[in-house]
Subunit: 379 residues, 2 copies
Amino acid sequence: MATTPTASLPLQDIARVGDRLEDIDTPALVLDLDAFEHNLRGMQSLAELHGVALRPHGKAHKCPEIALRQVALGAQGICCQKVTEAWPFLQAGITDILISNEVVGRQKLELLARMAAQARFTVCVDHPEALKALSAALDARQSFVDVLVEVDIGQKRCGVQSHDQAVALADQVARLPNVRFAGIQAYHGGIQHKRSFEQRQRAAEKGIKATAGYVDALRQAGFACEVVSGGGTGTAGFDAASGVFTEVQPGSYAFMDGDYGVMEWGEVMALRHALFLQGTVISTPTPERAVLDVGLKSTSAESGLPQVVGREGLRCTALNDEHCILIAEDPRRRPALGERLLLIPGHCDPTFNLHDKLVAVRHGVVEVVWPVAARGLSR
Amino acid sequence: MATTPTASLPLQDIARVGDRLEDIDTPALVLDLDAFEHNLRGMQSLAELHGVALRPHGKAHKCPEIALRQVALGAQGICCQKVTEAWPFLQAGITDILISNEVVGRQKLELLARMAAQARFTVCVDHPEALKALSAALDARQSFVDVLVEVDIGQKRCGVQSHDQAVALADQVARLPNVRFAGIQAYHGGIQHKRSFEQRQRAAEKGIKATAGYVDALRQAGFACEVVSGGGTGTAGFDAASGVFTEVQPGSYAFMDGDYGVMEWGEVMALRHALFLQGTVISTPTPERAVLDVGLKSTSAESGLPQVVGREGLRCTALNDEHCILIAEDPRRRPALGERLLLIPGHCDPTFNLHDKLVAVRHGVVEVVWPVAARGLSR
């Protein structure tokens, strides 16, 4: 009954330029270019208004085509969270990359040292042994990096815990070859997501104060912080206006997601939803229930279930590996078999990491399909 | 300061054959071949003991090399959850594939029709319109599939809701070209994960009874179910012994994960943990805290945080996109900077979907590196 596959049978692309939205195969990660460009301009203007550099985070989108557009609009460079993640951005011509994280391990240091011979790299350190290994790896390849001492301003993740530790590391940088002290990295991920404007402002001010304390302690010890980097989408407005940070590192601002979408933004920014997941209704087993071909393998749910766009009274009640269960309050509003629906992912960063392609549309027509080239590059 | 990248700078492979476990770059998805082979044999023996077919689920691992080993040990074929997911398995020579899901949409039907010309495909239906479109797409390509009517035995996801609906679909299959009625698909994902043996047994028996009801109703209407397919890792033992199911579809059994690992298994099976995530300690900012280079982009957490292997008093307290926070009860047990640790992922299926490579080791040495070829194929 079964035969051996003979001819090659290529998989079709998810979409082609000129396709209408409803012709895109699903699940598909879809970018609304008008909203996206609005968001890019908004954050760039905010940074320029306050005279700080914008260094958008590449971990949010993992897409070099997006980074090139961010830089073209005025961004100083980008951040990456992992060394391999930086690789496709470097290949695409991004020439100023901050690895906003600790780099530990032989293979990672070797790749960093080789990439640092080709562009400007900055890297975070929070441990004397890690710094020593970094310097040695760079020395072996005769390349150089700028170093930011990572300081913990409340995130309780990485980063030095005291002014003394920060000064000791800055001092060690000064005595090691192939590394140059450039300043500090001060990022608090948790406070980015506080929903109320006032709560977020208060939390940001606490972080800014802690950051300023580190800058002062380092200055008093003779180490001027040329770069004070931090701030995500949630606090970028406060950090940029602080007079303490010299650059901000937002990522999600370009896209928005379910988590950021429910936050109060005050007058600071008017970001728009630009990122969507398109799914198809594959089953309508009851009058209230519809099932989409979208699941945990195409959208992340750790920051909340996806939201259905433009369908009042229709909500996602569960997300399995490859199924999204939708329940309609009123059966007359249940979508029909084969219908395409747009969802807003709960969290954009891990959602991008599930897709190889980003389908960019304008006015409902596919304008371009971009590779998510750093997808899966977590080493 | 910055220069344009000149020479090509290839990314190194995550591991090479002969590497020791501690030489593998991280984060890495690691398979213990001894435990894996033990699990494969265990489930195959269970199926043979009860005279049912084993059709392991390819969605769990997305790795054709694994499917080939499952079939070589006696599996009837495999399941896939999506049409594109089946594609690399077909290319690798798997010749009997059940798409254990509804297939709706022009592109998906077109690909299925083309693949069905090369191997034996079976596909689920739960809606007359979907069945009509399936038959038409196959007719256009002059290919054929077997059809299982999906019945809802309590999952409340896809599947017909009544005996009458099942009979009506079977009848429609008989009157349409290029499709043949083969039986039913009866799967209840939720009950796979009940922790107590007795609770799971009771839930499985309820599902088996509902399944038997559908089989009887179809038989009375003149439709014999040659295939009654269902059963995941959690209920496979009960389903195989039921006399109702003719084949079982477990996936996780080959690997185990944190979720299945905490369950009571009784005498039915003795599965071993075979799948691990290896991480490196990149920061030790406090006496109690260590941070690994593992996160939501390398392991799924919707079924629980990863567990640390072989380190008493050390547990994961948070998982960010690229960081795993570990807290040691006793600071003397906190791992050191640069140490490699093994974790057990909370849920194996979405974790496989984050990795391009599976590093297979035996006695701590890399024996082979397998591509996770269906990673990301969710269309």
